[in-house]
Symmetry: C2
Subunit: 71 residues, 2 copies
DNA sequence: ATAAAAGTTGTTTTAAATAACAATCGCAGT
DNA sequence: ACTGCGATTGTTATTTAAAACAACTTTTAT
């Protein structure tokens, strides 16, 4: 999986919202019920996440999933 | 993969936009460079699509990817 | 009614997402 | 220096998305 623009952007967006809510990657990963390692890879655009995973993240962050696609 | 609400909603949204643009599933699948069978499964919420796939679809439909998450 | 187009479903293969756990790096702050 | 926390990276196993092709059903139009 090559790092591509959109994945990097979404990762950055997640990170930004997470920081706003004063959560660590571990915190967010726990809320989503997966490993902090997975969250790290997502935020750095290393994985081509599925909708399901994004949905879990947006729920944990209390934002609508479409928020993850804005810059 | 269980059919879940969000996947069904996204599928319906894709279908709706596709229809507006007078495209068949085959047309859209060709634009996205994958099988019409895949498009059928996506529109019916049978697969937990990745961002990449959604991105290809939104490009083919000439809409921003966040459009696919609105109802 | 029949032919063509559109959509659905089945199967197999391959690539990659996700899970789980560990080890390491970077940088506070003490 | 050391300790702890946040983040990153590596590995292995399992699951599943995606690709490719075929067969079938449904719809549409003639």
């Amino acid at each position: 999986m090559p790092q591509t623009k959109i994945l990097i952007e979404i990762g950055a967006r997640i990170k930004s919202i997470r920081k706003d809510k004063k959560l660590s990657q571990s915190d967010l990963a726990n809320l989503c019920d997966f490993e902090k390692a997975t969250m790290s890879r997502i935020e750095s655009g290393q994985t081509n996440v599925t909708i399901f995973t994004l949905f879990k993240i947006s729920n944990a962050l209390n934002v609508h999933i479409s928020e993850l696609f804005k810059n």
